[in-house]
């Protein structure tokens, strides 16, 4: 087990290096000079040179990358934004809570929708509710997330005036420059983004849970359990749902990790200042440290969730760690 964890950890580090190197190389290949952008209007060549020296962009790419790694490992710092010299750490720490509340709240909501519907559909295939569920699943995965968001905010926000259609409120009381704050305002502002986020994923999960439960129902051990006289509830809870949920939990971990890297579309529709919004701003201003910062955060999320799932699986199933 220790050997297995060690191997996975090593691979996680390789993955991390690969992702960051590719990010650096891609942005090094861009013909835009960040120093020129940061130097202000109509800079003289000497000014651009000074700015480049100040930002460190006059050095070769491997030197810049080495510096990035050194700063990350020794100072735990992701550097400073090219555009406004703000620390990338603080920019990410400001944006992360927004994305985390969006993703976690959305995930809870979509699982609350998908679990009962998926299980019911699997137990009663071709029933009326199953047909309705499958039709809504198709619509859910075919509609554009942006459009779902706009429709929800038009109907519930604008027409019925139930929820605000823009903005974010801090969970722990208001901060400077914000008129609202506290848990109630936070919840109130997050309802529509959560719904938007959940509609899309609930569709995927209903379908997946339905298929998994139906497959598990055909397993030999389910028949054995029934033959041994286990009650239907016990068969469902202990044998079917337990086994059917394993792959669902894996997917859930992956999807949450990916979404934490930036739920870009939902964040832009509802004007939430999350990581996706931060990354988009960074990309449009060629702000390499901000882009690398969000990419690092996002890939660390994906890699560590992967690692966690792998280790949990190996712990549950000895065949994996011995392979």
């Amino acid at each position: 087990m220790i050997r297995y964890i060690f191997r996975r950890l090593l691979w996680a580090i390789v993955l991390f290096l690969a992702v960051t190197i590719v990010t650096y190389v891609i942005f090094y290949l861009i013909p835009v000079d960040p120093a020129r952008l940061a130097a202000g209007r109509n800079p003289t060549p000497q000014e651009v040179k000074n700015v480049a020296h100040y930002l460190g962009t006059d050095k070769p790419v491997y030197y810049q990358y080495g510096l990035f790694l050194k700063r990350l490992v020794i100072d735990h710092s992701l550097g400073y934004s090219f555009a406004n010299r703000q620390s990338v750490n603080s920019a990410i720490f400001a944006a992360a809570p927004v994305t985390i509340s969006l993703v976690l709240g959305g995930a809870i909501l979509w699982m609350f929708i998908a679990l009962p519907v998926g299980i019911y559909s699997a137990l009663h295939p071709r029933s009326r509710l199953d047909r309705v569920a499958m039709a809504s699943v198709l619509v859910g995965i075919s509609a554009h997330p942006v459009w779902i968001g706009l429709m929800l905010s038009y109907i519930f926000g604008f027409r019925l005036e139930l929820f605000p259609i823009q903005g974010y409120c801090n969970l722990k009381g208001s901060i400077a420059g914000q008129s609202c704050g506290g848990p109630i305002d936070w919840l109130y502002h997050m309802v529509l983004p959560w719904l938007t986020f959940a509609v899309l994923y609930a569709a995927f999960y209903v379908r997946m849970i339905r298929t998994n439960v139906m497959e598990t129902l055909n397993e030999d051990y389910v028949r054995t359990a029934r033959a041994k006289g286990a009650s239907e509830i016990r068969v469902m809870v202990q044998h079917v749902i337990r086994n059917a949920m394993l792959p669902v939990v894996t997917m859930l971990g992956m999807d949450i990790a990916i979404a934490l890297g930036g739920a870009v579309l939902t964040e832009t529709v509802f004007g939430l200042p999350g990581l996706g919004k931060l990354a988009i701003t960074g990309i449009s201003t060629f702000d390499l440290p901000i882009i690398v910062g969000t990419v690092v955060f996002a890939s660390v999320m994906v890699i560590s969730f992967n690692l966690l799932v792998d280790i949990l699986y190996a712990w549950v199933d000895p065949r994996i760690r011995l392979a």
Binding site: L15, A18, V19, V22, I26, F27, L29, I30, P31, V32, L138, V139, I141, S142, A143, H144, P145, V146, W147, L150, M151, Y154, F158, I258, G261, G262, V264, L265, T268, V269, G276, A279, I280, I283, S284, F286, I291, T294, V295, A298, S299, V302, I303, N306
Partner: protein, 342 residues
């Protein structure tokens, strides 16, 4: 019928042929081929047929209908129409408005933005963009995926490790962010490349960016299939009569993958339509003033509360098109792979 549905792709017609024989069909026994059987199954799936017809109709509307409609209406999709904006709000559907210079013109679905452009024409031209980008990117991505997956699955060992690790690395990337970054930087430079004028601006770069992000799922699926196929007797037989590796892959393995590839490609077109719309919505896709469904959505954001039509139409266009491709893909899956191994 049950035996017919269960027949393997290896000898697909055998069961059907036997059934014919048992009924005493007279004369020679004609075995139904794999494709004939698939078509018989597909015909029975009404939703899939409707979706297929819709896709063909959309293609005709986008490539032939759009220029015709432009001719009849007398204005282009990028033309600014003075009467298309009423009190800083785009006009609604079916309005006869002033087109300037004393002409009057009809906006079938209203106008799409504050410049009074024709929503109907922009939707039609947007369909062209969506279909071109989604289908070309799918062809690009799926061919890369099939090539990599076949090679990895067939050779195994070191090659397989490399390809599998590569897929794993790519999947650890925050892909949407990366696609946005690529489209905003590299794609931006390629926008003016039109492949000798065949495509409009931005199509080639969007295709490349989206294609680059749609190869790893097909690669994984094809690899898994090839892993089990290469152990089959017919591969051994092909090798025994002296076929080269390349020939085995091309002539003996690929034909077995055609079903998987068709089904998967259809479903990928649906995802890529959404992908294209997302990139254009974020302003890194098709450059304005040309229309794409994503552009239309992003313009709609400004005034959808005042004029909800501008948001409704592009959204519905995307919804129906992806829905059609998804249903078509599901139907093809049932037809081409009745045993449900996909």
């Amino acid at each position: 019928m049950a035996t017919q549905q269960r027949s393997t792709p290896l000898v697909p017609g055998a069961a059907a042929g036997a059934a014919d024989f048992a009924e005493g069909g007279g004369g020679g026994v004609v075995a139904r081929g794999y494709w004939e059987q698939a078509w018989r199954r597909f015909k029975r799936d009404r939703l899939a047929i409707v979706s297929g017809v819709f896709v063909v109709f959309l293609g005709l509307a986008a490539f032939i209908g759009a220029p015709l409609a432009q001719h009849w209406l007398g204005h282009g999709p990028n033309d600014l129409i003075k009467g298309g904006v009423d009190n800083f709000v785009p006009v609604g559907p079916w309005s006869h408005v002033d087109a300037g210079q004393g002409h009057r013109t009809l906006l079938v679905l209203g106008s799409s933005d504050l410049l009074g452009r024709d929503e109907f024409l922009r939707l039609l031209y947007g369909a062209r963009v969506s279909l071109e980008v989604a289908i070309l990117a799918t062809i690009l991505g799926v061919s890369m995926g099939v090539a990599l997956g076949t090679i990895a699955g067939f050779y195994g060992g070191f090659v397989d490790t490399i390809v599998s690790r590569l897929t794993e690395i790519v999947m650890a990337f925050p892909l949407l962010l990366f696609a946005i970054a690529l489209a905003a930087t590299v794609g931006d430079r390629l926008n003016s490349y039109t492949m000798f004028g065949i495509f409009q601006h931005g199509i080639v770069s969007l295709t490349l960016v989206i294609g680059l992000f749609s190869w790893f799922y097909p690669a994984r699926i094809v690899r898994a299939q090839v892993l089990s196929l290469r152990e089959k007797e017919f591969v051994e037989a092909a090798r025994m009569v002296g076929n080269s590796n390349l020939r085995i892959m091309r002539s003996h393995l690929l034909p077995h993958l055609v079903g998987v590839i068709i089904v998967y490609s259809t479903l990928t077109v649906a995802t890529n339509i959404l992908f294209e719309a997302a990139l254009s919505y974020l302003g890194v896709g098709l450059p304005l003033p040309d229309a794409s469904w994503g552009n239309l959505l992003s313009e709609a954001v400004q005034f959808y509360t005042l004029q909800p039509w501008v948001m409704l139409f592009p959204g519905l266009a995307i919804l129906f098109t992806t829905l059609a491709f998804n249903l078509l893909g599901d139907g093809l899956r049932d037809a081409l792979d009745p045993r449900g191994s996909l």
